[in-house]
């Protein structure tokens, strides 16, 4: 099977896609985009989260074939300016990154949350990120980062 998809604004084509091949595998091993992470490959950790037609999905649960002729954005495509996106900047500055294996998925999930809800409350942040496991940080600084990103994107606290 041949799959053609737009990833981070560019067209990618891969051939001989096998039946069980996940979008995560296709991105990581075939398109040279290993940013989305492979922590569980079971839809439980969120580390592989990408946008599929604007909706965050666990790319490990999406068959590569399902991505045919669709639009994908990964962590590598969150910023198209060459500068860090405010969400990335906030994770960096707030110390929300330790090993960083959860980070790509959390960045996409946070990006999505803030695009839907520019000023989430703490319970709303917790609910939105409940599908993203982090083993290192205890989440406190992730909350700090989301709050800081919200402020930054809005030019100041609400």
């Amino acid at each position: 099977m041949r799959v053609t998809a737009t990833v981070n604004g560019e067209t990618h084509q891969i051939d001989d896609v096998w039946e069980g091949e996940s979008l995560m595998y296709a991105l990581r091993e075939r398109m040279g985009l290993p940013g989305s992470k492979n922590a569980c490959e079971q839809g439980e950790c969120g580390s592989c989260t990408v946008y599929l037609d604007g909706v965050p999905v666990c790319s490990c649960l999406v068959a590569a074939g399902q991505a045919h002729e669709r639009d994908i954005v990964t962590v590598e495509g969150l910023s198209d300016t060459g500068e860090l996106h405010p969400v990335q900047q906030a994770y960096l500055e707030q110390g929300a990154v330790q090993c960083g294996f959860c980070t790509p998925g959390l960045l996409v999930a946070t990006h999505d949350l803030l695009s839907r809800n520019p000023h989430p409350s703490d319970p709303q942040i917790r609910e939105a990120l409940a599908g993203n496991l982090c083993r290192c940080t205890g989440y406190e600084k992730i909350l700090d980062a989301v709050r800081a990103a919200a402020d930054r994107m809005d030019g100041g606290p609400a």
């Binding site: 560019e10 067209t11 990618h12 084509q13 096998w18 069980g20 091949e21 990581r28 091993e29 398109m31 040279g32 290993p34 940013g35 989305s36 992470k37 492979n38 922590a39 569980c40 490959e41 079971q42 439980e44 950790c45 580390s47 962590v75 590598e76 910023s79 860090l84 990335q88 900047q89 994770y91 960096l92 500055e93 110390g95 990154v97 330790q98 090993c99 960083g100 294996f101 959860c102 790509p104 960045l107 319970p123 942040i125 917790r126 609910e127 990120l129 409940a130 599908g131 993203n132 496991l133 982090c134 083993r135 290192c136 940080t137 205890g138 989440y139 406190e140 600084k141 992730i142 909350l143």
Partner: protein, 776 residues
Amino acid sequence: MTSIPLTSPQGAPSDTSSAADGRIGENALRPDGTLKVTGEFAYASDLWMDEMVWGTTVRSPHPHARIVSIDIGPALATPGVYAVLTAEDVPGANAVGLEHEDQPVLAETVVRYKGEPVAIVAADHPEIARQAAKKVVVEYDVLEAVTDARAALDPASVQLRPSGNVVRHLKVRKGEELPTAAVVVSLDFEVGMQDQAFLGPESGLAVPAEDGGVDLYVATQWLHVDQRQVCSALGLPPEKVRLSLSGVGGAFGGREDLSMHVHACLLAMHTNKPVKMVYNREESFYGHVHRHPATMSYEFGAEPDGMLVYGRAEILFDGGAYASSTGAVVGNGGTLGLGPYRFPNVHIDCYGVYTNNPPCGAMRGFGCVQAAFAHEALMDALAERVGVSPAAIRKLNGVREGDVNITGQVIDSAAPCEELVQILLDMPLPAERSGADLLSLPGGVANSTHGEGVVRGVGYALTYKNVGFSEGFDDYSTARVRLQVIGGEAVASVHTAAAEVGQGLITVEQQICRTELGVGRVVVHPKNTQVGSGGSTSASRQTYVTGGAVKAACEAVRARVLAAAAQVCGHTADDLALDGGKVVARSGEVVLDLAELLGDAELFADEGVEETVEWRHRPTEAVDPETGQGNAHVQYAFSAHRAVVDVDVDLGLVKVVALDTAQDVGKAINPDAVLGQIQGGSTQGMGLALMEEIVVKDGHIMNPSFTDYLIPTILDTPPMLIKILEYADPHAPYGVRGVGEPPTISSGPAVAAAIRQATGKALRRVPIRPEHITGT
């Protein structure tokens, strides 16, 4: 159409030399942070090379069996398969291990746990490798499995090793043999098997080299101890087995032992192709050691006012099929197993045994975590018996600086037990639960009740942990530091083999170089075996030991630079310092520009000034085998937690409302990173108290997935108030005290105590499950 970029492992993770500010004591940013937020940081599972093939592992389905025969024919005949290897193909010693070389690289005649590697396969696609692995036909003769640690201790049980089933038995004896006390409390406690559950799976890439050796890029905690074992298994000298650290997605002890290291190297050398191996989550549960499950019996005797008279304990760790670091875990369980309290009389027996369960070894908190649940439950029981508060009993009995501990060692730096507990008492408590918000209920909104049965509880715990390797181990680290001119600027570079696993060691290395050498830019060299050992990234030791090595190497470089400066400027070297890229006099006067000085061809060669230093902390001693007495540990680190919980007693659900910490860190080199360690460590301890357990039945893991092995999510994890004390340890560089482990030790017992207080239930096992609370 874009072409596919190739990720080369050379130098991975790539550039971590970003210029940033921050001396010690400041919140310098991680130099790898930008790569990590852009998705460019090369973790071990991201490595990619032209012509690379994929390795996979065939594992035993039985906890204990004799291997009758292995037929690799059908697997090898599969199109796309390059190699299928078994024990016969291990050229060197087919025995590896951290403390005892008792574990085969590939099982030979016997498998001793379910999941033990038996054969390995290389194929041009991971799915083909997996399919071929299923075609390796292994005939087993199933043997009786020993899956109960207590039974393993019985000499009449099946003996799994010629030396018997006991890996180590440590006795600690102090004071009277049979002391008596007015008040006696006792209990039994059980701790389940916890998993490190780092998110980045075991993975790496082995590349065959032209010299007949191999280059291995791998996620690990200690490159040199891996190298030693890989060399021995391959029968190659160290210069032919070169290891480089790739990006590590967390470790927590689970990467101390080898996983795919030798397997990938064997396949690479056999196929003459680069071989990548990546475990999936299920395989990861079989592919690394876990925290030892423990059964413990404790008894404390005290005066009527609660002052401790004696402590007795029997601690039994299930080490599983291979020794791993069980011996050292027993060392910690025994020497630290009564907690940071003053005991005139002590009688401890601590055992680690072989069974046919999954092997257990290092995990954050290392032997202290299990014991802390027991000693803290017992302190609460004692408080209740003598009618004082949990805080008061700990303040009364907590060790103080100058005390002699249970192994006869003088605690010769700060031991602020009383103050840590008082800090927690003084912290504000969270607001009472408002009935309105169903989301804030234990279990959230998806419940059949609406909080009618919710009760609140508060619990305290106080613990301590040794920092660094103990019991006479030659514990050192090596640092190579260079100061040179790059682009007209004085730049430091630092090369150690000490593993960065996410904790932030590379940030600390930069901060130390900036502080000692007065420069802004510090390049962190990729971590590899081209420099001497950095020791293990474990035991909360890297900031102390590798930090000490980097500091010492900087001092050696600085001494040479200042000696040269003294020749030029007329000041004595003693009157000079480095600051802001300048040589300055103590008076503050700027004497020379550092870059200009370093550029002086008559004083320095082109490559600048370089020094390599091997640095050791003060030595420790082996303990007496009959009494456990001796100066076993380098340093003690203290922490205390207060947990506030809401428990739905009808549903058995627990919500941790607050998890507050007080901890002495000696000196916070990077205060933000210290907070991150405490927050993450506290969460792992809470996870063990509430939800984390590898359920093992007859030697089989019942829940090897993140669907069934639960770790705390952001919804489970409460806000945390944290107070850091900085009582410098005069023996440690900058006064630092290890940070990473203490919070994992004290948080769980505080959560358990809070649930006991809320429910009035004894709760003598963790993780505490809903049925333990509801009694159904």
